[in-house]
Amino acid sequence: MVEKAHYILVFVTSWVVIASAGAAVVGRSAPPPQEDDTRTGRAEYVEMGWHQCHGYEGQGARSTGPRIAPELLPFEMFSTWVRRPPEVMPAYSPKVLSEDKLRRIHEYLLSIPLPPDVSRLPALSEN
């Protein structure tokens, strides 16, 4: 299920805002996500309606929200982003989304495999 956990700064406006605040974001490692937590995390991700803007796999969509997975912020920064988002993104307070739930959602996003390379997809590479 899990290929790799990559902590790479995603260059989207909202995340850059956090990064510019001085937090260390690149090169961290994480313990491997537990499969049960991942499954629950996906359900909670959908329950919270995150898929509406960012897609079921966190892939993002041009008109609704940036990609948030599988390259992911470390949990602390991810949490800051979720609790106090910039601009129009809905804020999720601990009252609405507990720390445990948020952690499982993070685990779910971490578990999403990296996408295949363009060269492996004829529909893209032959285009």
């Binding site: 329950e47 919270m48 309606g49 898929h51 509406q52 803007c53 897609g55 079921y56 796999e57 892939q59 993002g60 969509a61 041009r62 008109s63 609704t64 990609r67 601009e87 129009v88 809905p90 804020a91 999720y92 307070s93 009252k95 609405v96 989304l97 996408p115 295949p116 390379d117 363009v118 997809l121 004829p122 529909a123 893209l124 590479s125 032959e126 285009n127």
Partner: protein, 572 residues
Amino acid sequence: MVDVVKSLGIDYLASNPGSSFRGFHESIVNYGGNSKPEFLTCLHEESSVAMGHGYAKIAGKPLAVACHGTVGLQHAAMAIYNAFCDRAPVVILAGNHLDANERRAGVEWSHSVQDAAKLVRDFIKWDDTPMSLPHFAESLVRAYKIAMTPPIGPVVIVMDGHLQEQEIGSPAPRVPDLSPTLAPQGESGALREAAELLVNAERPVILADRAARTSQGLTRLVALAEALQAPVVDRAGRLNFPTNHYLNHSGRAGRLVSEADVILGLELYDFWGNVNGMSDLVHREATRKARQDAKLISLGVNDLVIKSNYQSFQRYMPVDLSIAGDAEATLPSLTEEVKRAMSPGRRAGNAEREESLRKAYGEMREQAKVEATYAWDASPISTARMCMELWQQIKNRDWSMVSRTSRVGSWPQRLWKMDRHYQFIGGSGGAGVGYGAPAAVGAALANQEHGGLSVNMQADGDLMYAPGVLWTAAHHDIPLLSLVHNNRAYHQEVMHLQRMASRRRRGADGRAKIGNVFEEPFIEFAEMARGLGVWSEGPIHDPNELAPAIARAIDVVEQGEPALLDVVSQPR
């Protein structure tokens, strides 16, 4: 009346039958031989008009719609508004019984109205209520001429029941000749000034929305962009610029607008919104996206058709040079002025610009490919996968995208080769839901003449407004491939509710689904289509099952019938 319609070269009459135009209907099918125009059986007046809307954007001319002047026009109203906003011609013939002394008791009174067109007068170009057959002939010809003169738009002619059913007498009234009006062009001095600004700009950008009315518009915009070596951002009101041309930088719109020193807007529906922004926050503060010192040039016909009530004219935008004229008709003169204004030194600089723009274009396309890989194997199926699996199977055919694409990530614009005007027809104009399916059927009807494969990325919510149009497609053997982008929701509305709940600190959780999603039960689009006589498959959840299903559907469409695939897909 039928003779007048025939004289205008109108090939189809889209209609849901009604007694207030029974005389006309009978003449169409018997006297007129049900040919040019052919009666298209529609199951809703909104479908009739939206079919005409889509048809006109491919055929370059209107079809006619017949409906009750009362209940029919009420059903049709929203589709008329879309056509008005999208600058599409539709000729609407509304039945009525004006003379109270001639009305039968009951329904004929309920279906009569003093001023039928009043209902839609805020969003049509012209209407009339003829009182005699010569009057009808003159007014219908005039209406056609008005509808087709940029700014193009829908018109209404009321057909009185008594006029329809009385004896014509002898000799028959004369049908006046149609004298089409040439599209208005921008004033030559203003074009010279615009050319000077564009040529002397260091970072010019061209924004085009409904600029290309025909294939000529596409060619002419390429000529202007190449003369300037200026990037073009296609705002997708039509296919204004080939997606495979190195000057198509639609994916870089934000950066280009923010850096530009001269911005040329061609038939922009919303100039203000292209150079300004307003976040969806409680305090709606406007921010300028363009440089403060950027020179703004507007070329288009929007200022020539402004109505007061409905606010589709968008926010007032002060520009440095506002030129009234049809962009497509004006482009050759503007390009000539640009070439004239170009010094040898400036012309020499074009090579450097070209190299830089080619590089940026290539990077933009490669980046789009990488972005398409995310969620490639996911279920629900990603919009990128949906679009690219379709592209694999149509790219060597003659095809036409007859739906909007922004709901499916604009992947066709980002990754397909779209270089013919008919390969994309834009969206609804007024954002009235329910346009998609009937407009696609109408456009497919127009494409039928050329034998091209019409493809439709069909929004699920849109299809449910008037799904009966699928039956119309089946009944009239209109070949159309529809892929239902079935995200099982009024997806945008879910996000609106999340935003409101968050703003009020009530938690943007699953309750945002209430009222906005199609669950319990899911809508079975394939079963519904089958019930309406359309070949279908689905729901398709597995992305690996998509390609073979598309192949089977194309086989059906190539035999001259509609086909539909229900694709359970990602929200966007």
